[in-house]
């Protein structure tokens, strides 16, 4: 008995460290340092342009446009923001972008969620072909469609008008929205919807009361993606508008003139354009993580 106890005690004692263990620990520590250095480098690479843009928007151009830029904190100023935000030629594109972004998101989410729910829940002839067809739209480079779109919009009297942009963005973003949402709806166990039918829900009520709340993280993330895509698009807005329906990215680019370059205004407009996108991206991240952690649809 005592031998057994002694043997048991000896097995629970920590093993003495060997030189081999020390080597392994050193290698592990070096690995961690290397990993962190790589992450830091990547972060600098990704953030540097944005930080430099922020710096440009907060310092007077005279302080920066010299051989050695003067970054004295005393020189920090919000004058450029005040100037742009009180300038109607800047405010109109900003409001335009907001209208286009929000409208496109609403249209895409209303149509997309109903469509995606049908794709996820019904098996009908041509279902896969339709889904694949929508994906093909995404594969066509926008530049190929720019001229036909320009001609179409002008023919329908939608050139340089916000509805024209909304319709165009919806056409491009809707397939993506449907693709994303089909995945989220697929995750919802069909038995929940059958339970709702027994409980007295019709199809629409099942969507609103059961499917949408369960797919909420997915819906939110998709809506944010739709907004970001339409808010920050430059190319189509440049081709399909001229003055009345100009959006923020187009206006921002306009600060770069042929003979003069207003760096401070361009940087300030850039920051103003990026802030909602950044905020929404952070929010989307929170939603997506919440969806994963809570396992909302797993019951």
């Amino acid at each position: 008995m005592s031998t057994l106890t002694e043997r048991a005690a000896s097995t629970t004692q920590p093993r003495a460290a060997t030189p081999r263990d020390a080597g392994r620990r050193r290698r592990r520590r070096l690995g961690t340092i290397g990993h962190r250095a790589l992450v830091a480098l990547l972060l600098v690479y990704l953030l540097a342009p944005f930080v430099w843009m922020l710096v440009y928007s907060l310092y007077p151009s005279s302080a920066l446009q010299q051989a050695s830029p003067d970054l004295n904190p005393g020189l920090l100023t919000g004058a450029s923001y005040a100037r742009l935000l009180s300038d109607s030629s800047f405010l109109v594109p900003m409001v335009n972008s907001a209208i286009v972004g929000i409208s496109t998101t609403i249209v895409c989410m209303v149509l997309g969620s109903a469509c995606a729910y049908a794709f996820a829940r019904y098996r009908f002839r041509g279902r896969n072909a339709l889904l694949l067809g929508m994906l093909t739209v995404q594969a066509i480079p926008v530049i190929v469609l720019a001229v036909p779109l320009f001609i179409l919009l002008r023919a329908f009297g939608l050139y340089d008008r916000l509805p024209g942009l909304i319709v165009t963005y919806t056409a491009f973003i809707l397939p993506l929205v449907i693709w994303m949402l089909v995945g989220f709806f697929d995750e919802i166990p069909p038995s929940l919807e059958r339970a709702a039918r027994i409980d007295g829900c019709n199809r629409l009520q099942i969507m609103i009361k059961i499917a949408f709340p369960l797919a909420a993280p997915g819906l939110a993330a998709t809506a944010i993606l739709a907004f970001i895509t339409s808010w920050s698009d430059f190319f189509l807005a440049k081709v399909l508008t001229s003055t009345a329906a100009t959006t923020l990215p187009v206006k921002t680019a306009a600060f770069q003139g042929l003979f003069a370059m207003d760096y401070t205004s361009a940087a300030t407009a850039g920051v103003i354009t990026a802030v909602p996108v950044l905020l929404l991206a952070l929010l989307a991240q929170k939603w997506i993580i919440r969806g994963l952690v809570e396992g909302a649809v797993k019951g």
Partner: protein
């Protein structure tokens, strides 16, 4: 309270022309207040039948009546029934209270009445302390109770259960099974219960519907299902250990030789020259050939395997052309390799038509 009647109910997936029907020509009546189990292996059509009664699946042809009124063209929520799903199907975004209250609110039941019914149901199932919790915080057993409470709170005429115990561990399953039986005794509502577990069906039911490949094999009381199986399928599916089902042919002395071995069985009546013969292992006995003073050549076979269960042992005897199982009390007195005789004198002998599988003599 309700009586459910199925009249020539048929279900074919993918239109009338597609493949074999999932459910074929089902006709039977589930009496008012009865607890009836739909028993069968996976894919036999029992869940499809339940879904058709619930209104979750359309029927291809036939009629379903509840209390004499045709319901197969009514929506699920208009049939006055509650459904307990295999995976419980609790709404993850609602707490326990809202899960139970949801169906009542959809039916525009007054708020005070909803509150009272939710508390009644949860008190009955001892889950009042989790009313504010979301389903993900509950154990499997608690979720199961919430699913039951949701059904009870509705106070429906019919309860439908789709394998509600299959996700529970063995101990909890046995406990919940007893509670279900008690609950049915208290509520007295007509209940239809789908299961592939014959033990569950036998212990819970007033009557059992045995199904195979979409067809009704037998509808009867647990006693009838066990002692008078209508088909060879029912005989083999119900009973543990499985019934010995072997071919037998009539010998010159009028007795039947089992599977071409020396085991002979006398049969009342005259079922025919060739039959399928069924003997339940627990009704047969085993005698060591030496114990009855006979030589090894008088033995019916030799012991191949012994599976002790504690209170009994299942002994597999090699008859030569076939194997035969006998359940003996305790750990038994025979050993592997012993020559043995099988005593069928106390056993009820079941005979089935070798072609159709139908029962030949009652």
């Amino acid at each position: 309270m309700a009586e459910i009647e199925l009249v020539h109910v048929q279900k074919t997936y993918g239109g009338h022309k597609g493949g074999a029907p999932a459910v074929q020509d089902l006709s039977y009546t589930i009496g008012d207040g009865q607890f009836v189990s739909l028993l069968g292996p996976s894919g036999c059509g029992k869940s499809t039948t339940l879904n058709m009664i619930a209104g979750l699946e359309d029927i291809t042809s036939g009629e379903i009546l509840i209390d004499g009124q045709r319901v197969d063209d009514l929506d699920a929520d208009k049939r006055d029934l509650a459904f307990v799903f295999q995976d419980y199907a609790l709404y993850p975004h609602m707490n326990v209270y809202d899960n139970i209250a949801f169906g009542l609110r959809m039916r525009k039941v007054a708020k005070a009445e909803v509150d009272q019914r939710v508390h009644d149901a949860t008190r009955r199932l001892d889950i009042e302390h989790v009313l504010r919790d979301k389903p993900r915080r509950l154990s499997g057993g608690q979720r199961q109770r919430v699913a039951l409470a949701r059904a009870i709170a509705r106070r429906p005429a019919v309860f439908l259960f789709d394998e509600p115990l299959s996700n529970l561990d063995a101990l909890l399953r046995d406990q919940t099974r007893s509670e279900l039986k008690l609950l049915h005794a208290e509520l007295g509502a007509t209940s239809v219960y789908v299961t592939h577990d014959q033990e569950e069906a036998m212990t819970l039911s007033d009557r059992i519907v045995v199904m195979s490949r979409g067809k009704l094999e037998q509808y009867g009381t647990p006693y009838e299902i066990y002692h008078q199986p209508a088909t060879e399928f029912v005989a083999s599916f119900v009973g543990k250990p499985r019934m010995n089902l072997l071919p037998a042919h009539r010998e010159g002395d009028g007795r039947y030789a089992v599977a071409g071995s020396t085991l002979r069985v006398a049969l009342a009546g005259s079922p025919g020259g060739e039959v399928r013969l069924g003997l339940r292992p627990e009704e047969c006995g085993l005698v060591g050939a030496a114990a009855v003073g006979g030589a090894a050549r008088d033995a019916h076979g030799t012991v191949r395997v012994i599976e002790p269960l504690g209170n009994a042992s299942d002994v597999t005897v090699d008859l030569g052309p076939a194997l035969f199982t006998v359940r003996v009390p305790g750990f038994g007195t025979v050993h592997v390799g012993d020559p043995v005789q099988i005593d069928t004198s106390a056993a009820r002998v079941h005979t089935f038509d070798p072609v159709t599988g139908r029962r030949l003599i009652d």
